[in-house]
């Protein structure tokens, strides 16, 4: 079998990743689009760029996915063009505009806290642990809209199995990247950066909880939280931390970025619940993107059968 090799590129010719990520700003600022474009093509071998839009091989179906006959997946351009990712700006279209600055390779995830020893995994290693599964889940935003996303990922418990946690570990904390070079809006004081989220250990172990690395069969677009994000389909979307760089096991229930920002508005659990209103709006209905009429919101976002027992005996109004 012939082996094809591309012409080698001298290290001096390779644009630094930091400069490369800012290339669009550079083009805008200097107005040298054509020249920069030509340089960009030559330098376009950056590993992060190679990942963009790549098909993920060997995806297996999952019985946890929604039935496409009942609920159709939201179109790709809506899932990737309507995002809350405040590190990249305050508007729904800001992430699409600015997330190209994110460098998703090289990327490592530090696992620490209540573990025998802290471990650092590269994202390439993590993606080899389990077969990529397609999980078509509902995604309900706390703001009152929803979509259906065909995620590609694997159960978070695959990571927890490898983390060698101690008996003290009761909660898992997820830390997102907060690099002002790549994420311009972490310079604004509107959230207490870095973005952190957390789950109870049994929630994190639940087979519905996944780390997603793709959607629609492709490598996860940056604006959706590349290279690795949390997806917990029975909770409001903001619980799903994006672009995770650190996972910490802790003994006590940690503060999360949104409970710090509004303790009466965003609870630790934040399970989707049509009967518990947000203080400023009702959660009884939702607008599925692409639909004209509002839908009724389902308890636990329609996953009550799988997860309600995790909260047996708890007052869901108190632990909202």
């Amino acid at each position: 079998m012939p082996v094809y090799r591309s012409t080698p590129i001298a290290p001096s010719e390779i644009t630094g990743a930091a400069l490369y990520a800012r290339r669009r700003d550079f083009i805008k600022a200097a107005g040298l689009g054509a020249i920069a474009g030509a340089l960009g093509v030559r330098a376009g071998l950056a590993a992060a760029e190679q990942e963009r839009g790549k098909r993920i091989e060997g995806i297996v179906k999952s019985s946890f996915s929604l039935d496409p006959l009942n609920e159709k997946a939201t179109p790709f351009d809506k899932i990737t063009g309507y995002n809350n990712f405040y590190e990249f700006g305050p508007d729904k279209d800001s992430p699409l505009k600015h997330a190209h600055r994110l460098r998703t390779r090289p990327w490592t995830v530090l696992v620490e806290g209540e573990v025998k020893r802290p471990l650092t995994f590269s994202v390439e290693d993590i993606l080899k642990w389990a077969l990529p599964e397609e999980r078509v889940y509902r995604m309900r935003c706390v703001e009152g809209w929803s979509m259906v996303v065909p995620w590609v990922g694997f159960p978070l418990n695959e990571l927890i199995k490898r983390a060698e946690i101690t008996g003290n570990a009761k909660f898992v904390e997820f830390w997102s990247l907060a690099d002002p070079e790549q994420m311009p809006y972490v310079r604004t004081p509107f959230l207490d950066w870095p973005y952190t989220e957390a789950l109870r250990l049994d929630e994190a172990m639940h087979p519905l909880t996944i780390l997603a690395a793709g959607l629609y069969g492709e490598v996860l677009p940056n604006q959706n939280g590349a290279p690795l994000r949390l997806v917990v389909p029975w909770k409001y979307g903001f619980k799903g931390a994006k672009s995770i760089v650190k996972i910490r096991f802790v003994a006590r229930q940690p503060q999360t970025v949104w409970t710090k920002a509004g303790p009466d508005e965003y609870g630790f659990y934040s399970n989707v619940n049509p009967d518990v209103d947000h203080p400023r709006w009702s959660q009884a209905t939702e607008r599925r993107l692409g639909e004209f009429f509002k839908r009724k919101t389902l308890p636990f976002n329609g996953y009550a059968g799988q997860v309600a027992q995790l909260y047996a005996g708890m007052d869901l109004r108190k632990f909202f």
Binding site: Y82, Y86, P90, K92, D93, T188, G262, S282, R287
Partner: protein
């Protein structure tokens, strides 16, 4: 050139009736651009992934924009001496009402689908809806008394007193905006509230200045304060 009063002569521009009509027509057309762009987006799939939210936001934003523009007329006129600007104020105020009505209709029709129960609950329970509804309600009498006939019937003084309620509407609109956004988007209501504060602050400063100076010398305060011009 100086006038008799010693102030710099200001050759105030005063448009002829034809010129004024042309300016008003142009302004009318420009003020309809936001609506036209929404309509264009609606027919060309240009309203984003959540069109109803987009329309609600755009109509709300343009209501506030026209409110601020309307409140700018008086300071601008005072600072520039271009008194004819006053003749555009009614149209600007009515456009504020027009976009407010579209905003409210979007909420009633597209967002809540005339679910009167849900709307009533919203108005009572959600502070940002309560305040927004109050702001819209305050605009209704102003729109209703915008004609020359209404001004004559009310009398200038009372008409002006009624229309000063627009300052309260501005404050309610700012509160509505603050209450509805998340912490991460606070920058927008902060900008609007800042502009409103400048426009209202200018009026407050002028009002305070018109009260005249306080007596400065100690001797002046020893004299009894005169309540009445003559003995009652």
């Amino acid at each position: 050139m100086k006038t008799a009063s010693g102030r710099a002569f200001n050759p105030a521009f005063s448009p002829t009736p034809n010129q004024l009509a042309a300016v008003k027509t142009a302004l009318f057309a420009v003020a309809l651009i936001p609506l036209a762009s929404l309509a264009y987006g609606g027919f060309n799939d240009g309203l984003g992934a959540n069109p109803i939210e987009f329309v609600t936001r755009q109509t709300g934003t343009w209501t506030f924009n026209f409110l601020l523009i309307t409140l700018t007329v008086t300071p601008l006129r005072a600072l520039s001496g271009q008194h004819w600007l006053l003749r555009l104020r009614r149209m600007l105020g009515l456009f504020c009402f027009f976009y407010a009505a579209l905003h409210f209709t979007t909420y009633l029709w597209l967002d809540q689908f005339f679910d009167i129960d849900a709307i009533a609950r919203d108005i009572v329970k959600r502070p940002f809806i309560t305040v927004g509804f109050a702001a819209f309600s305050l605009l209704l009498p102003l729109a209703a008394t915008s004609s020359n006939r209404a001004i004559r019937r009310l009398g200038g003084k009372r008409w002006q007193a009624l229309h000063r309620s627009v300052y309260l509407t501005g404050i309610l609109a700012a509160a509505h905006y603050f209450w509805l956004v998340k912490a991460t988007a606070l920058i927008y209501p902060l900008i609007y509230a800042g502009l409103l504060a400048i426009l209202l602050g200018w009026r407050a400063k002028k009002r305070i200045a018109s009260y005249g100076p306080f007596p400065e010398k100690a001797g002046a305060s020893l004299r009894p304060i005169r309540f009445f011009r003559s003995r009652p």
